[in-house]
Structures are given as C-alpha cells and as structure tokens.
Subunit: 292 residues, 2 copies
C-alpha cells in the first residue's frame, strides 16, 4: 500500500506557482489576487479559508479576506459579489460554502462573474467543463485529477465508482473522469443514496472515490484487493484525546481498508490540500485566461 500524499503533491504545486509568481514579477506582470468571502464563524469554514489565505501568502499571491456576520442579508452579499466582479485588482474570488440558510447559495454562485469564479461552481464553468472549453474546473475534482496525474495512477479503461453525486464533487468528477483525457477514460459509475447493492458495485471497482461526508462509510469488505481509494470526506468527529477536542474523519475506514489498497489518500493530508492547490492553479489561470 502506498499513500497518495496530497500534502506532498500540493507542496510541489505551490513551489511551481511560487516560481511562476517570481517570473511574473521579473516580467513586470500583475501578481494574481484572490479574494475570499467568509460568512459566519463555522470552525471548518474558517479553517479552510485560513488555509487558502496562507497558501496565497506562501506562493506570493495577493489575498483579501472579507468576513460577514452570519446574519448578513443576502442583498449585502450579492452587492459585495458585484463589487468584486467589477474590482480590477481582484483576479479571482470565492464565497466559502456552506452559507447560512437564509442565503440562496445558487443565487450567489450564479452572481459571480464566471471569469473570476476560481472555485469553478458557476454553471458557465460547469458547461465549459462538459464541452472541453477553457474555463475553471471545479476545485476539488480538479485537485483529484491532478493528484492522480502527478502520482502516475493509471485510469484508462479502469472501473471507477464515485460515491456521492454532489454538484461540487461527485457529479462533475464523474464527467471529468469519463472524458477522453489523461487522467480520464475511466468507466465511471456514479453511486448515491438511492443506489442498490453498493457493496457489490464497489467490489468490482479499480478506483473508489468516496464523497458523501459519512465517516468510515467505505468498509474493508467493499474494496477489491489492489484498488485505488480517494477519500474526499472531511467530517469533524469529537475526540477527547485531541487537544482541539475533535479530529477530521474521512469517508473511508482507513485502518482496515488501507492494507488492501494499492494507493489510498489519508485524511487529513489527501484531497484537502489538493483542493487548495487547485484553487491556486485556477487563480493563476484567471490571469492567463485574461491574457495578462
């Protein structure tokens, strides 16, 4: 069994981006600027956004964090999105999800200028992804593709089961892995809460990608000897032994599943850092798509 080390792979990507920034500086070009909007005080969201800002600082991107109280009215948020759309100093921005219930996430996502939508959640970017038109790929699926690519995981002709059909992970990833690309050319089965006999379906999979947010959902008996396992889950579970009082849990029963795998991502240190790396790649790409 070999760890698919998202942390190490993302460090490599960040180094490459750092170099790209230095070269841009030398050439007198604009330094990429990422803005992030965070609403409320959810611990997970705060951690993610902070990690994104930190990655920007490390690479040498400019970054701006904009915070709102969780009671912020939708129209204030929409107005902020509009002003970031128009702000020429900002090349890309994200609105950290989830948002409080009184705010329509889809409305916010759609309000973002697709040319600045570095999370790749806007319908225009999803449509472009389907048709291979240049744009922004959704950050987590793109991070998984990059992880597979940089670790030379063979995907062509492989049976891949994706568990979870979310708009931001499972659904777009099923499209990306089905395409005639490398990584890609998988025979993808997209499983979800209505899927029957999931165990039998998983047992034949060469690659399993778990993205449902249920700690330890993928068990030993679901996994074929030698399978590749990508764990997208990051649920906070109470843990008295941890100074924080909790630990991050993936969707895979790592202890028991890992010995059967050829490759497996840890949680934390697997898909999480790759999502951030993707976001950074997209932010640089925002400049390039503009031809700047």
């Amino acid at each position: 069994m070999q760890l698919l080390d998202g942390k190490a792979t993302s460090e490599q990507i960040k180094k490459e981006l750092m170099l790209a920034v230095q070269n841009r500086k030398k050439e007198g070009k604009k330094i990429p600027h990422l803005a992030a909007i965070l609403v409320g005080n959810d611990g997970g969201s705060l951690t993610y956004v902070n990690a994104k800002v930190k990655a920007c600082e490390l690479i040498g991107f400019e970054s701006t964090l904009i915070r709102y109280d969780e009671t912020v009215p939708e129209e204030i948020l929409l107005a902020k999105v509009q002003s970031l759309n128009e702000d020429k100093s900002v090349d890309g921005f994200i609105v950290q999800l989830p948002l409080p219930k009184h705010i329509d996430e889809l409305k916010i996502t759609q309000a973002i200028d697709p040319r600045k939508d570095v999370d790749g959640f806007h319908p225009v970017n999803l449509g472009n992804m389907m048709l291979n038109i240049p744009g922004f790929l959704p950050a987590t699926p793109a991070g998984i593709m990059e992880l597979l690519k940089r670790n030379n995981i063979e995907t062509e002709g492989k049976k891949c089961v994706i568990i979870g059909r979310s708009n931001i992970v499972g659904m777009p990833l099923s499209v990306m892995l089905s395409k005639n690309t490398n990584p890609g050319n998988c025979t993808v089965t997209l499983a979800h809460s209505k899927t029957k006999n999931l165990k039998a379906i998983c047992q034949t999979a060469d690659i399993i990608i778990a993205a449902i947010g249920q700690p330890g959902f993928v068990k030993e008996e679901m996994v074929k000897e030698g399978a590749v396992i990508i764990d997208v889950g990051t649920t906070r579970v109470l843990d008295a032994n941890n100074p924080k009082g909790w630990k991050l849990c993936g969707d895979v029963d790592f202890e028991k599943v890992a010995p059967k795998c050829s490759f497996i991502t840890p949680v934390p240190g697997g898909v999480g850092p790759m999502t951030i790396a993707s976001l950074m790649i997209n932010t640089l790409r925002a400049m390039e798509l503009k031809g700047k």
Copy 2:
C-alpha cells in the same frame, strides 16, 4: 416484451402542444417561432430538419428553414446566428449538426444566445442542467427522459448503462439520469470506446441506453432478461429491398434482443420522434422562460 413507442408518445406530446398553441392564440399571445439552419445536402440532416419543420406546422408553431450550400464560410453562418439571436420574431433556433469540416461546431454552438438554444447544446444550458437551473435540456436526452416518464418506466435505484459519451447524448444523459428526480435516481455507468468488459457490465444492467452509432452493436448475450433498452442509434445502411435504397439501423440487434426485454424502443419510431418532440417542448418553453 413491450415496445416503447416513441412515435405514439410524441404524437401525444404534439397534441398537447397543439392545444397550448390554440390557447395562446385565444389569449392573444405570440405563437412560438422556431428557425432551423441547414448547411449542405446530407440526406439524414435534410430528413431531420424536414421532420422538425413538419412538426412545427402540425402543432401550429411558426417555422423558418434557412439553407446554405455546404461551402458556406464560417463567418456567414456566424453572422446568421447573430441575426437570429437579435430577431425578436424568432423564439428559438437550431443549427442542424453535423456541419462541414471547415466550420467549428463548438464555435457555432457557443454563438447561439442560450435563451434561444432550443437544442440545449450551449455550455450555459449544460451547466444549468447540472445545477437544476431552469434552461433548455439537450433535446435527445430530454426526449428519452420524457419517453421513460410517460411510459411509467421505473428508474429509481436501477442500474443503467449508457454506451457512448457524446456531448449531445451520452454525457448529459448520464447526469440527468443520476439526479434525484423522476425519472432519475439511476445508478448510471457511462461506457465508451475505452471501457473494458462491456459485455459483463451490460449483463447486470436494468436499463441499457445505446448511443454510439454502430448498427447492431448491442447483442443478445449482453442483455439481462427483463431489461429496458433504449436505442439512440440511427445509421443509414444500404438495403436493396427498400425503395429508398437504405434503411435506418439502430445500435441494438433488435430481432434477437427484443424477446429478452421488458421494454425496447424501435428504430425508427423510438428516440427519433421523441427528440423532435423535445425540441417542440423547448420552443414553447422559450416563450415561457421569457415570461411571454
């Protein structure tokens, strides 16, 4: 075995649309107007476009057929698309595919105003489809969904294998059938030219959708007893016994496969008429989305 009669189902839809047009007339509302651009003299394309124009006439839609020689320069076609985008009398229009090789199909597709893109090929409409945002669903997949729905084919929890990952059929249909809708909630596997052991994969399928354009590709031994078979193929095959000199062939070896099925679409008379019905539904919908 029961035929999934796309012709009969589409006749029913056309009757409903005819009534809707009559009601619009009574209310003094605008009559939907579909325009179609046809380039060249390909027999198949000509047949399809004529069928679309004929459906408009039957229902009571206005229709306009615009024809170009197959040598038409791309910029002339783009200019026509632009003028149809701006033409307030036209509610929806299509450019019949395939186009001659010197014309970039994707460029043409992207030039169409998404609000008039009644074929549902524009990236904005594909992205909207992924996110359940109101728009135009791609005509053939939407026709298949409608056929399943109106014939009460159970899909929830069913294993569905789609053969063929095209941008206009297989790929979007895999997304639509995976969604938490009815029809939908299938466990979809998207198969393609790089898929290994396709026979074994198909043998476990409750629903097989063949969309590759290879006559007779789906054989008896690939199909489980009681499966539902949707045949999207329409290849013209030489046939001396036919006064036209050819006949339409589906992707399924109908004679041998049909006896094993619970439901199967014929070719012709299955998916083809449903694609046209979808286009008509989308054209009416173009008015409704405008609030007219």
